[in-house]
């Protein structure tokens, strides 16, 4: 997968490295901005109230 991406990037090694870096940063940004905030409430650290069962009923 990574080899395939590397081979399909244009330019010489330096340009490829630069594009790869940008791609990695873009992926990290998407993860932090969208994916992790979505996944985080599925974990137990948010359950700090005593009426969460009730809140769903209300």
């Amino acid at each position: 997968m990574y080899g395939w991406i590397w081979r399909h990037l244009p330019g010489n090694t330096w340009v490829k490295a630069l594009i790869s870096l940008v791609l990695v940063l873009a992926v990290v940004f998407v993860l932090f901005q969208y994916v992790f905030p979505w996944a985080e409430p599925l974990l137990p650290f948010n359950d700090v109230t005593v009426d969460q069962g009730m809140a769903a009923v209300r």
Binding site: M1, Y2, G3, V28, L31, F32, F36, A39, E40, P41, L43, P44, F45, N46, D47, V48, T49, V50, D51, Q52, G53, M54, A55
Partner: protein, 240 residues
């Protein structure tokens, strides 16, 4: 072994290792997000809320949200709004036991998004300083770890709140009490099992237990000990 099957095996091994490396990197990134990034975001959000409140309060009590009286209208004797605006901050809480600089905004509601920006007031419970049980939930871990040291709370510890006009000093009455998530009696007007046996001005703090889990809740109860107008300066519990 033919050349073709050797290439297939190589491709398989390579793909498998790439997936493993990707999954590992994802997990590490997610841990970084939980431990660091949620804290960074929450700290800046909480500082923002406190700054906004202080700005609003310094503009004068007439600027209370939604209570700007029209000219000619007599301001009601109870100048406090009947309801706090959902999702908005209305008070700042100080607990010296959790640190000399520990100050967090209290927002209305206990939704996930609210608790990411500060402590959440259970919207069905009493208002600050009123008869009943002013109940507040907060994160133990992640989102700035506001209640990380919750188990350190001891009877007599001060929980100080201000709504811009009055300082309210509550005193903790029990060591943190562990209960189950469904035990909503702990935020009753006279909380069950708290030892309080009549109506009063109470405060309840709730967070999760264990630190990183959600199987139980940790509860602390307090009663209103003293109030003083903001004009008289900070209460002795904060200065002493």
């Amino acid at each position: 072994m033919t050349v073709r099957s050797r290439t297939t095996v190589r491709w398989l091994v390579r793909t498998l290792s790439e997936i493993c490396v990707t999954a590992g990197a994802l997990i590490v990134l997610f841990v970084v997000y939980l431990l660091l990034w949620t804290g960074v975001r929450a700290d800046s959000a909480m500082d923002g809320e406190i700054g906004r409140l202080q700005h609003q309060w310094s503009a004068g009590p007439a600027a209370a949200p939604g209570r700007t009286p029209a000219p000619g209208e007599h301001p009601a004797p109870a100048a406090r709004p009947r309801r706090y605006a959902p999702g908005a901050s209305f008070a700042v809480m100080y607990i010296p036991r959790l640190g000399p600089d520990w100050a967090k905004p209290v927002l209305e509601g206990t939704g996930t998004d609210v608790l990411q920006r500060g402590l959440g007031h259970y919207d069905t419970t009493a208002h600050l300083g009123e008869v009943g049980n002013f109940s507040v939930a907060g994160h133990r871990r992640t989102y700035g770890d506001p209640f990380k040291d919750f188990p350190e709370l001891r009877p007599g510890d001060a929980v100080v709140l201000t709504d811009g006009t009055t300082w309210f000093t509550y005193r903790i009455d029990n060591r943190p009490y562990t209960t189950l998530p469904g035990d909503i009696g702990v935020i009753d007007p006279v909380p069950r099992k708290s030892g309080f046996n009549g109506p009063g001005r109470y405060l309840t703090l709730t967070t999760c237990e264990p630190e990183w889990g959600h199987s139980h809740r940790l509860i602390a109860w307090a009663h209103l000990d003293a109030t003083q107008p903001v004009a008289q300066g900070r209460p002795s519990a904060l200065t002493g």
